[in-house]
Amino acid sequence: MNASIIAKFKLSYGEFKLDVDLSLPSSGITVLFGHSGSGKTTLLRCIAGLQKAPEGYLKINGEVWQDSDKRLFIPTHQRALGYVFQEANLFSHLSVNENLNYGLKRLKNSIDVTLKTHIIELLGISHLLARMPENLSGGERQRVAIARALVLNPSILLMDEPLASLDWERKQEVLPFLMRLNQQLKIPVLYVTHSKQEMAQLADYLVLMSQGKVNATGPISQTLSRVDLPLAQDRQASCVWAVRVAQHDSADYLTQVQFSGGCLFLPMIPVAIGEALRVQIFARDVSITLDISTQTSILNILPATILAISNDDMGQSVVSLQVGENQLLAHITQKSAAFLNLSLGKPVFVQIKGTSILN
């Protein structure tokens, strides 16, 4: 991992203690995931300098923003960051365009003017420029807020539950743009959320937090499949695979996608061959068999080996498996696990009953 974000903070107020020591990748979307009160927002605010941790060290792409040992603390307005709040926090006395220009006017070094045009287009807000914030929908407001942060070409984009205050429909006004951002801009994003859906859709890298501490970090594909983490035990447990469209089978109305080490059939999706997709596979949709059954309605049967098994008190087993270079989770009963005599390293086959496309 190309770690160029180093963040160490210690802070406490009242009962709450934050104690983290993180190295994060310098590209892609890193999701800080946890329940409310887990300290993820506090961590983000410490990174932005909106909150000052008495003990802290923060280095972003070679620039040190805080080093409490050297009494160094760069104030927020001198940090090359973009921040998107839970509420859009647009300036109500300024039009959309003036909101976008607010930060631009204050930049020390002028930046490429085409960036603003590009961002406006990327977030689909060109028709809103003359409006005042009060005349925008929640989703539009949040898109303007994201654009306002991005036009400054920040070295890191910090997003604090940017969709949490929006209803489902408004969320759909923003989410596709977020996914596009990741593909088109090379800015590392730290994204705070407690929504599993957003996490699965957006995360390249995961930081799981609870009670002010980091429980686990890693690429999403590996972290979701760790049976020692509570996420894998969850009823909605799933894995996310990065795949590429290989070919369309119009006769059967199927699309074949490729991952490192195999391929999957999905219901036909209208995207070009070669496109990258994220596929979510829920653990409850995965079953395990010892030999390839020829008599089955299930299309996707892949060879796998067992990586780990974890049993709960309710007769359920969570099994993680290696499939090609990917990991997969299966929720099965302990009775089935005993019947199949599953053990670590054992070669098996997984049957995948369903998948969903995340983008």
Partner: protein, 228 residues
Amino acid sequence: MLTSADFATLRLTFQVASLATMLMLLFGTPLAWWLARTQSKYKGIINAIVALPLVLPPTVLGFYLLVILGKNGPIGQITTQLGLGTLPFTFAGLVVSSFLYSLPFVVQPLQTAFSAIGNRPLEAAATLRASPLDTFFSVVVPLSKSGFLTATVLGFAHTVGEFGVVLMVGGNIPDKTRVVSVQIYNHVEALEYSEAHWLAGGLLAFSFCVLWVLYSIVKTPSSIQLHK
């Protein structure tokens, strides 16, 4: 009709009120900002001191100002040593006492407006490269427009309307410290009711119009706090 003496008091009143209002905005704005933002334990006591003129009889304030600003008072001694003489019974004395007397009418609407803005726009501005001072002028001031309008109008109108303090600190010296409210008192004392009517009616109309316009422009009455 108004006599030339009446016009002189009107002119003087306008000068005192304008100057005092400017000073109140100048000092009241940072004070209100501090009061709206601080977590300091001194917030309560400072708030109480600023609000004192709202509840004190003007004569009490006037009396202590006379004592403090007078030749033997602590401030009086300083001004005398500086060669400025003493402030009571001068134009400067009128401005200083008006400033103190009307300050809560400027500070409180501003404080309310600043508190209403909250933290979020300030944090947004900080993440958009604006320094705290820059944020104050580019975000706080425009968002507190109605607070500033209220503060200015109430500060000015209240200074025009004061009587007790100006009489005690300013005295009743024609062309120097005689303001409209004192002039009305003089007319009434001299049983010149028709002259008193002109001035009193004028003041009544002025105050009513000012408040009417204010309440029409500032649609959110919560930002207007009248404590009297």
